[in-house]
Amino acid sequence: MELIENGRVVEDRFTQLQDAQPIAERGDILVSFERLQGQHEALLEREGRLGVRIGPDVEPEELLPYLSQLSVIAIEFASFADGRGYSTARLLRQRHGYRGQLRAVGNVLRDQLFYMKRCGFDAFELQAGRSLDDALEAFSEFSVIYQGAADEPLPLFRRR
């Protein structure tokens, strides 16, 4: 499937593995948080990159033991109205120094992309049926930002 990654529409190289599916020996895979915790050893002993998919109630601190092993953390927005993922992303980026891909998945709408990027997301899976090319315009809708965040740590008053 397609997603937006660093401002471009690309093909997703990661395979989303359901819990019941066996772990492939090679290739890039995305697994659930339960699987990451439960089958940790097995997941590390393979070629290919590892990513995890977490729900809105997983706290960033729970991921700390795994951060260096994860190429992708996919944060799920079960409803677009549930804003916990924004805090989770910011904390992972700014407080815990996570450098891999932060991907917004689930109920992700075009008009949230600007804020999500500011919070540290660099990849986005949009709701099915939405134009990704049209969504790209969302990133440049605002040229001025008041607050510091993951993309620019200093608030405007330190940059004026």
Binding site: G83, Y146, Q147
Partner: protein, 556 residues
């Protein structure tokens, strides 16, 4: 007042442009209503009973005459020739067409105004004391801090999808003229023992289904820590606030559930980590930069005007005498006063003002008050810097406009939400009850005798009319399809008396009985008060609900 620089201007221009795109996509069908709704809410556009309703932000209530003229112009060209001032210092238009809203936003942006975050589950308009900067009892002017909070909260990317709406108020004095204790976060300016300026931070206040007075989170927060501390509270709320039940989602529920100790612990743990990064430290230069926009205007050197005010109060023109007694307020500078323009004329819904009146009031602001005015959470306007020697002239001009209601702080200076005449959420109408009260008690001598009274009327439990904190509160309910009204007594917003929540006095009254019931309560007060000087709220607190209950319902 704060002047936009190129950054601030670009933000509102780009927001107007963004919303234009969103409206176009809605009107051409590429975005559905359920996706469009949060977007239009973040631009303050509601769907009400008869039409869209648009809520324009008036940051901490401060307006220039030019901005008021623009609001009048918008009312005339895009609405039905009037606007409604709200209990959060904002202005509402009740009849805009969707395709006009982008244009309205552009017009607002041209005078440094917007409708950003006046709705939705985000940080709303930060409100403040309508006597900010001029009140003699002020510790310091709260407006620079309200402006700093405004900028920090506008388009904050992390807190745009909170569990629920979020309201912040800033107070500059011990006497709470902005109902600060009933906000999600309240910020009071205080001085430490060593004279250092800082803040008392309170949190978890609110009205609605679960009314609560805010609790103190921190007694003294040094000035540079303001934003880091607020950010920490917001992050704790965003992460741990309830999202399972819309009616249990405000921060007050979280504070109550955790207890203030645990809440404080979580906030300060987050605050310490935030401080390590240091990005949110508020430098003195930034405070100074913003505060420079709120420097006092070029006051004249005038002699104290106490004797003149006293003479005015006894004036032959009783209307003028009452107006000076009630609507004219103390000012820091000798010879000056603040004036309330009460938007409480008999026959007009509280807070409503016509386009024509707005334009003339803008002229009066230019003529009498250095071109500025304030909207208050009591649905009135204030001209803050009027020379006492010119009060009569001002009064006469207000009379010609029909804006000379001499009832500030009295029984007919009530507040009311729009209620079932307009609002989707309401159970009963509030405006007709307000109009009846204003008619029943219109005699100024009687109002004088009744003294300081605040009546607050809400059409539903959401309490936009702040009924829990009125000396008398009225709540509209639906009893089997018929409008009824619950009466509660003894609330206080914190102005002139400690903050308290009113208590329901007994079974609800129907439409015909509610105003007579209020009359009975006030008659009972007159009979029970220890002296002419004992205010209703003090009398109630002394004698309790019992005598009022008996007067209303009889003894059983």
């Amino acid at each position: 007042m704060y002047q936009y620089d190129s950054h601030d201007q670009r933000i509102v221009d780009e927001r107007a442009r963004q919303f234009r795109g969103q409206v176009e996509r809605r009107l051409e069908g590429s975005v559905l209503e359920n996706e469009f709704k949060p977007l239009r809410l973040q631009n303050g556009l509601y769907m009400q009973l008869h039409a869209y309703m648009m809520r324009v932000a008036i940051p901490y209530g401060l307006l220039s005459s030019g901005q008021l003229r623009k609001l009048a112009d918008i009312a005339r060209r895009y609405d039905r020739g009037y606007g409604h001032f709200t209990t959060r210092q904002n202005l509402q238009y009740n009849w805009p067409a969707l395709e006009d809203v982008p244009k309205i936003l552009e017009e607002l942006a041209s005078v440094q105004m917007h409708a950003i975050q006046t709705s939705g589950n985000c940080i709303r308009n930060t409100t403040s004391d309508h006597f900010a900067g001029i009140a003699p009892d002020e510790v310091a002017d709260p407006r620079p801090y309200a402006e700093i909070i405004r900028q920090w909260s506008t388009f904050h990317p992390e807190f745009a999808y909170l569990p629920r709406k979020f309201k912040i108020a800033v107070g500059g004095s011990e006497d709470d003229r902005a109902a600060v204790y009933f906000h999600d976060i309240g910020v009071f300016l205080v001085r430490s023992e060593r004279g250092e300026l800082g803040f008392r931070i309170v949190a978890g206040g609110g009205l609605g289904r679960t009314p609560l007075v805010a609790q103190v989170v921190r007694d003294f927060l040094p000035e540079p820590e303001l934003l880091a501390y607020l950010e920490s509270i917001m992050r704790v709320y965003n992460r741990f606030g309830r999202r399972d039940n819309k009616y249990k989602a405000r921060i007050k529920i979280l504070v109550e559930a955790l207890g203030i100790e645990e809440f404080r612990r979580l906030v300060e743990e987050e605050w310490h980590k935030e401080r390590e990064q240091g990005a949110l430290l508020l430098p003195a230069e930034e405070v100074a930069r913003v505060a420079a926009c709120f420097e006092p205007p070029p006051y004249r050197q005038l002699p104290p005007a106490g004797a003149q005010l006293e003479a005015f109060r006894l004036d032959r023109d009783r209307g003028f005498g009452h107006w000076v007694k009630n609507n004219v307020h103390p000012h820091k500078r000798p010879g000056y006063a603040a004036v309330t323009i009460a938007l409480k004329e008999k026959g007009t819904p509280p807070g409503d003002v016509s386009d024509y009146q707005m334009e003339r009031v803008a002229d009066l602001a230019d003529e009498f008050s250095f071109g500025e005015l304030r909207a208050t959470h009591l649905q009135n306007l204030v001209l803050a810097d009027v020379e006492v020697s010119r009060l009569r002239e001002l009064y006469e001009k207000l009379s010609a406009l029909g804006l000379d209601a001499a009832n500030a702080g009295k029984v007919t200076d009530l507040i009311a939400c729009p209620g079932l005449d307009f609002c989707n959420l309401a159970n009963a109408r509030s405006i007709p009850v307000a109009l009846d009260i204003m008619e029943r008690f219109e005699d100024l001598d009687y109002q004088s005798d009744l003294g300081e009274l605040s009546i607050k009327i809400s059409g539903c439990i959401n309490a936009c009319g702040h009924h829990h904190i009125g000396h008398l509160g009225v709540l509209g309910i639906d009893k089997q399809g018929v409008e009824h009204y619950q009466l509660m007594l003894g609330g206080s917003s914190g102005q002139g008396a400690s903050p308290s929540l009113g208590k329901i006095i007994g079974p609800a009254f129907d439409r015909d009985a509610i105003v007579p019931a209020i009359e009975t309560v006030l008659q009972t007060y007159l009979a029970l008060r220890s002296s002419e000087d004992e205010r209703f709220i003090d009398c109630y607190r002394r004698v309790s609900a019992q005598p009022f209950k008996e007067a209303l319902y009889g003894t059983h």
